[in-house]
Assembly symmetry: C2
Homo-oligomer: 107 residues x 2
């Protein structure tokens, strides 16, 4: 036990849960907001902005990359992170689909 029983759910349910899990953290939300309002989205700037240790930020960036929500472009010794616009819109649509297709008829 301790693990989610993914086998008993549909691919769509698991996919949505995976996406939401990546988003469900204030540090990752803050990172996305910071990246989005910066022209230069250098990793080190994020570390200074957010106030968590550099390895912690690096780990959060890795998780955001795991669902292709952000992309990191190496530029010299720095890495410039940006949001994957296509995926951003796609994920918003998946979430809205869930909210819209889930009928709300109370008993």
């Amino acid at each position: 036990m301790g693990t989610t029983k993914t086998q008993i759910f549909t691919a769509e349910q698991n996919q949505l849960a995976t996406i939401l899990k990546v988003l469900a953290n204030p540090a990752r939300i803050a990172i996305l907001q910071h990246i989005s309002c910066q022209k230069d989205c250098i990793c080190n700037d994020i570390v200074e902005e957010i106030g968590l240790a550099q390895p912690t930020i690096s780990q959060h960036l890795k998780e955001l990359k795991s669902i292709d929500l952000i992309e990191g472009e190496i530029s010299g010794k720095r890495v410039c992170y940006c949001i994957n616009q296509k995926k951003w819109v796609e994920i918003q649509a998946i979430i809205n689909d869930f909210f819209n297709k889930t009928n709300v008829n109370c008993c």
Copy 2:
């Protein structure tokens, strides 16, 4: 360690993370979908539908209730669960706000 450092984030960031965390589980997604398409949303039906043990379902329902996303109405020895429509729409708006207000300008 092991805990999220909520102190360093804004109330909005923490609130969004809390909401997404409740949604970020396939069992809870399946529960919401099942409740929504049923006229009778009896707890026991959910247990049989989802395929997880009764205490596990009860715990998931508790988490959904923690953000007022569902309501349980006691009817005899049964409890009839339904989605809180007002909160449902409210939460969808909060999430869309995040997606819309987060500008996507790549570097």
